[in-house]
């Protein structure tokens, strides 16, 4: 449906677009990591694009990707990028939608943050970092959002076992002995 968007993007920023595709009515553009911010800025500001509404930001871990019914060549192996970060955008004026996907290798899972362009991605990138360990360069406040700070590991990665336990952590911002109030010691 928004094939025009993909065509315009490929025409305007050919160096940024690795490939485009359409699946089940969704338009997807794979963008090179280095060109992500220029491409995103153009998508937001160009009058024919005007992708002003951020929808979501998430990550896909391809480690266990062995799709049934697809050729064996499509299975994941170490030569392929392990993570794909997906940003979904929407335009309130033109009503078209687009998904940007950026492929990242396992040992270098970082990409520039889009939190300055769309403030909604601030928290969503924090969530992606929390769950997958993707670092967003330039993010104003990249820390865990759902999980507590002492959590070890990135749970939505495929090699994090669901049953794994984490040690209990004492909260160190609370006093060890509570402050005694005026009636301390009265109840036995």
């Amino acid at each position: 449906m928004s094939q025009k968007v993909l065509d315009a993007l490929t025409a305007a920023l050919p160096g940024a677009v690795v490939r485009t595709g359409s699946a089940h009515g969704d338009e997807i553009a794979w963008i090179k990591r280095e060109e992500l911010v220029p491409a995103a800025t153009w998508l937001r500001d160009d009058p024919k694009m005007l992708f002003d509404a951020p929808v979501f930001c998430t990550c896909i871990d391809w480690l266990d990707w062995k799709p049934v019914g697809r050729p064996v060549a499509e299975y994941w192996n170490e030569t392929k990028p392990r993570f794909t970060v997906a940003y979904q955008l929407r335009s309130t004026t033109h009503k078209h939608r687009l998904r940007l996907e950026i492929e990242l290798p396992e040992n270098d899972a970082r990409l520039p943050s889009l939190a300055d362009l769309w403030p909604a991605f601030n928290w969503q990138e924090r969530e992606t970092f929390d769950m997958y360990g993707i670092r967003f360069d330039g993010h104003p406040d990249l820390r865990r959002i759902y999980l507590y700070e002492e959590f070890v590991g990135y749970p939505l990665r495929k090699d994090y076992p669901k049953e794994k336990r984490q040690p209990l952590v004492r909260r160190d911002d609370l006093p060890i002995n509570p402050i005694k109030g005026p009636h301390a010691g009265e109840h036995k």
Binding site: P67, V68, G69, R70, P71, V72, A73, D159, P161
Partner: protein
């Protein structure tokens, strides 16, 4: 274009693929993710094209061809999704299901049944049959290991071919005709060859079920961890199917070099001892004790004799992994131990049948030999102790629980420190017994009779306070003043492969995550 290559390019459903010459169309389609459904085809068995489930349309060929038998040809154009092939597949499944009993809730194969999978993937139509199904015998005792349900059998003949090819004995065959055709034993035969349980693996439905496994655990609950069988020196590659920290069955894993798709029946039962007589806590003087106390006690007793190391002996085990043996051998060398023995079960010549079973029932005799040679140790078989214990042997550190030649009377005279997984053999007579993990509970390697070093993966944690054998040796070494700086089996492996020259190019394989069978679809 004529090129002297051994690759062929063909087109399946519009997708081009290049495969080695001699591949059949079914396998070529699998590489494209196209499962053309088949029952009687098995890559390790002769092709009979009997089930007609894999029929496909090939251009320039007026009739449908069985893709399992059709060898790829250069430029061949195959269609699997055209109406003719699709209808043939659906109709074949319909025929197969006409007399199939409604046994899924009680059938062992449910969850890993090829018939279920293919029906759901390729047919999924309602039944058109309203007549009573043909009844056949439901619980036929085929032999000591297998029960047959004749109604479930879809007459694919995989089991017949398995017995013929893998075991070399013709023990199964079909009888009667039409829809009364049944699987039965050959005249005068029972299904008692030592490879009979492979027929349960290859059977695409629940017709053949193992007496050992039936009704014990549902297939989709299991998790599979790759490992190596510890039943004999062949070292068949297996998968341990486990759940809730216990193993429920062992099945073979493909290894073209060692065991192809098969393993013997004795190897399949080697998971039972994992839960028998397990030593779960350290024992000092017959009473359970903590690891620290036990190590201290062992070091104290050994310390007395280590002053003159010729009084100390060490028994390596051909039933334990390379890492455990290497650790203990290295410690023996560091002590300067005067006596080094190797223990193993006596050979069973009747086993050697030229197929998978060999006479040597110890999984790691070759490995122990290689390790001792590399370290310059000259181990003596413990049978020699039958003739008499050497006069200056006073203390013995024994790895493993099988020590032929050392009976109770001899053990009483010696100071025995035992590192074992099971509480039998020398363990009840030992001064200190340290519990170690069995073969399925730790990441380790073992060497088969051809010198191939294979990696075993841990399926679950060892029981109680047991730890890996090499880890116990490290603790013992530290307590007796020797330093073995290993904290991970990879460290032991690295040290070992640098010492044993033949193994210097081997790399430690990372731990694999167990595969939940419910994610794996059907194995058939």
């Amino acid at each position: 274009m004529t090129e002297a290559t051994d690759k062929v390019t063909l087109t399946i459903d519009g997708q081009s693929i290049t495969v080695p010459k001699g591949t059949n169309v079914l396998e070529a389609a699998k590489l494209l993710g196209n499962d053309i459904s088949a029952f009687c085809y098995h890559p390790g068995l002769p092709i009979v094209a009997q089930c007609r489930q894999c029929l496909v349309s090939i251009e320039k060929n007026p009739k449908l061809q069985p893709s399992c038998q059709q060898v790829v040809g250069e430029g061949m154009v195959v269609h699997t999704t055209d109406p003719q092939s699709t209808l043939a597949r659906k109709q074949q499944l319909e025929f197969t299901l006409v007399n199939h009993p409604i046994d899924c809730p009680i059938c062992d194969k449910a969850g890993e049944c090829t018939l279920q999978k293919l029906y759901f993937d390729h047919d999924n139509a309602d039944s058109r049959v309203d007549t009573a199904k043909v009844h056949k015998a439901k619980v036929v005792d085929l032999g000591p290991t297998i029960v047959l349900d004749q109604e479930r059998c879809i007459l694919c003949s995989r089991c017949i071919r398995t017995c013929d090819v893998v075991a070399g004995q013709h023990q199964l065959e079909f009888a009667n005709r039409g829809d009364h055709e049944i699987l039965t034993t050959a005249p005068g035969e029972q299904l008692d060859n030592p490879y009979s349980l492979n027929t349960v693996d290859v059977c695409p439905v629940g017709a053949l079920t193992a007496k050992d496994f039936r009704f014990t655990m549902r297939a989709w609950e299991l998790e599979a961890t790759p490992s190596v069988c510890n039943g004999c020196a062949t070292g068949c590659n297996i998968e341990i199917h486990h759940k809730n920290e216990r193993a429920w069955r062992l099945v073979p894993r493909l290894n073209a070099e060692v065991n192809q798709y098969w393993m013997c029946d004795e190897g399949r039962t080697t998971y039972h001892p994992l839960r028998e007589e397990r030593l779960a806590s350290a024992i000092v003087d017959g009473l359970p004790a903590s690891w620290d106390k036990a190590i201290q006690a062992a070091a104290k007793r050994l310390g007395v004799f280590l002053k003159d190391a010729s009084q100390v002996g060490v028994v390596l085990s051909a039933l334990c992994s390379n890492e455990d043996n290497y650790a203990l051998a290295k410690l023996a060398k560091a002590w300067g131990a005067g006596h080094v023995y190797v223990a193993g079960k006596p050979p069973v010549p009747a086993r050697a049948d030229g197929k998978l079973r060999v006479a040597d029932v110890n999984p790691n005799a070759t490995g122990v030999k290689a390790i001792c040679e590399a370290l310059g140790l000259n181990p003596i078989a413990t049978y020699e102790l039958d003739r008499g214990v050497p006069a200056n042997l006073r203390a013995l550190v024994v790895l493993g629980d099988v020590v032929p030649g050392l009976d109770a009377t001899k053990l009483k005279e010696l100071e025995v420190i035992s590192l074992a997984a099971h509480e039998r053999g020398p363990v009840p007579h030992a001064r200190v017994a340290l519990p170690i993990a069995a073969w399925a509970e730790t990441g380790a390697t073992t060497t088969n009779h051809k010198g191939l070093v294979q990696r075993m993966h841990a399926a679950f944690a060892p029981p109680g306070a047991a730890i890996a054998g090499w880890d116990a040796v490290v603790r013992l070494a530290a307590a007796t003043g020797q330093k073995l700086a290993w904290t991970h089996p990879r460290d032991v492996f690295k040290d070992m492969t640098q010492t044993v020259v033949a193994w210097k190019d081997l790399a430690w394989q990372r731990d694999v995550r167990p595969l939940a069978l419910r994610f794996a679809g059907s194995r058939g």
